[in-house]
């Protein structure tokens, strides 16, 4: 499915600006060149209004059926931002653009329309955003949890940075489990070594003041 005509990144932005006017809040194009040839690759970023999302995806489909990479999301304080990362013009050598549509959802009303009716594969990422960020995807064909286990508490959203995020008590620092709390003193450094001896001696005194640990007790069976 080759697109009829290849637009430049600026033209892509212009298509959206013309069609949606104020629905496009901000747009920018980033360019990145790597390798010896410094061939550029382009990312298009469009901040759009929440209600423009669904028609904007429809517009993107009219340009070239986009590949939805993923939907990412950020808790930015009073709102949750969702970024829809698409790519278009894949299959054209060195001609692919990333198109990121960003919508901000105020925390008072965390709802966004589904795009799974246009791109069925989007439901996977939308399910993840529902459970991780607590947004509501209106009209989602399958609203079950995706990654979080069934017994995960309701109303806790791991990627949120406010009171609905992961609470302290829910985190178990596995790296700290079973660490021996009081190791026996480390062998002393020969005093003729260098200038840090004094500090080392102080430390030594503190360590030896502790009771040597019964290390055996800590052992697993």
């Amino acid at each position: 499915m080759k697109p009829a005509k290849l637009l430049t990144p600026e033209e892509v932005v212009a298509v959206f600006a013309k069609k949606f006017g104020k629905g496009i809040l901000e747009s920018r194009i980033t360019e990145r060149c790597e390798g010896v040839g410094k061939r550029p690759s382009y990312d298009i970023w469009l901040d759009i209004d929440r209600d423009t999302l669904h028609p904007a995806v429809r517009e993107l489909i009219a340009i070239h059926f986009p590949h939805l990479g993923v939907i990412s999301g950020t808790d930015i304080g009073d709102a949750v931002e969702l970024n829809y990362h698409f790519s278009i013009y894949y299959g054209t050598k060195h001609g692919e653009y990333m198109v990121t549509l960003t919508v901000a959802l105020p925390k008072s009303d965390l709802r966004v329309a589904t795009i799974a009716d246009l791109i069925p594969g989007a439901v996977f990422s939308e399910r993840e955003k529902q459970e991780m960020l607590g947004v509501e995807v209106v009209g989602i064909p399958d609203g079950r949890r995706l990654f979080l286990p069934e017994e995960f508490p309701e109303g806790v959203y791991p990627w949120r940075k406010d009171e609905t995020g992961i609470r302290d008590g829910m985190v178990k620092d596995l790296w700290a489990v079973g660490r021996p709390a009081n190791r026996p003193a480390r062998p002393a450094i020969p005093p003729e070594e260098e200038g840090v001896v004094q500090a080392a001696e102080v430390a030594e005194a503190k360590v030896t003041a502790r009771e040597p640990a019964p290390a055996e007790e800590e052992r697993h069976e």
Partner: protein, 411 residues
Amino acid sequence: MSDDPQKKMTPYTVPIGPTHPALKEPVMFTFQMNGEQILKADFAPGQTHRGIEWMGMRRNPVQIVHLTDRICGICGVSHSLAFARAMEQIMEIEVPERADYVRTIIAEFERIQSHLLWAGVAAHELGFDTLLHLTWRVREQAMDTIELLTGNRVNYGIIQVGGVRRDFTPDQFPAIEETLQYYSDLKSKLLKIFLEDKTIQMRCRDCGVLSYDDALKLCTVGPTARASGLNMDVRVDYPFAAYGDLAIEPILPDAYMGETRGDVFDRIVVRLLEVDQSVDIIRQCLDRMPAGEVIAEPKLAKLLNQFKKAHGEALGRHEAPRGEVLHYVRMDGKEHPTSWKVKASSYSNLMSWIPMLEGEQIADIPIIVASIDPCLSCTDRVAVVRSGERGIMTKEELHRLSVEKTRRLSA
């Protein structure tokens, strides 16, 4: 023969998972079956979700680079590369050209070992263990080369924000050349053993078909998409690292087989041919590799300070062996990212299981599930389901129970 369809069709449910010999990693499938035929398939991923993104948002990018190494045990460089590229864009770091080439070469060696690993797993799922042993044996050559170049076999730890941590030394080039020659010589043998084998053809041809339309609409990536005729390869379409300088074309099955059927067999074809393509890419890289530095900022402490000044958001992409990986990073002047989203290739491909599986037989489940080369992730915990109640057992509890049981048995 009864006329009542209800009587003829007595669907029953077969659960496969969360752990099952057909699955190399935990995922929960539920199949509605009619005899041997699958009527409906459903799956629940996340049986062992590790919350890597959550961990990453509490670590600085130097730590995250090594965390990304461990997102996938096989893609040791893909995620690091994508993440580092996103960071470099945010911080506007110019990566030395030689580093781009080193990254590309390691990434292609990774593709060789990953595809061979997959070929072995696929053969095992078909009950063809000899092929598993054969492909894994030849895979060792790539693993050894990676170990030589990066230091370790699996978690390479070669990528750093701004470049790579190790340059190739002159004495390593003969070893690289030897490996490339090894795989060039092996190509025809591998193709013959996999593609001319009658039993593999019987099991894989027209099995697990994914149409072009489904591949497109379900957002599939990598060899899964290409086997369905979807021309999509980040290395070709979207120039990054050294790929923009090289002559590469995406591998599509009709070039070799004359037609695209989108079945398991086509996925084998694409992956096997990509092994050879990787050899070619590494050769091209070695020919064009410029001299110079391999890292923009060798002083790590300085780099750590720069993170605190970074503002902005960026995307890092890479064509991993399984398809596109995508990292979205957002830095807001803190040491750790405000937001980090990892899209692994299998994330995009899992949805394609449903159209592939429905209508097929139980016997095809393992190979179809494996055919997209799923890469989930594993951690140690056990979920116990008894009379509808669920509970998670930690390693400590399991250990205690085992000790108790041993005592009971030996008493």
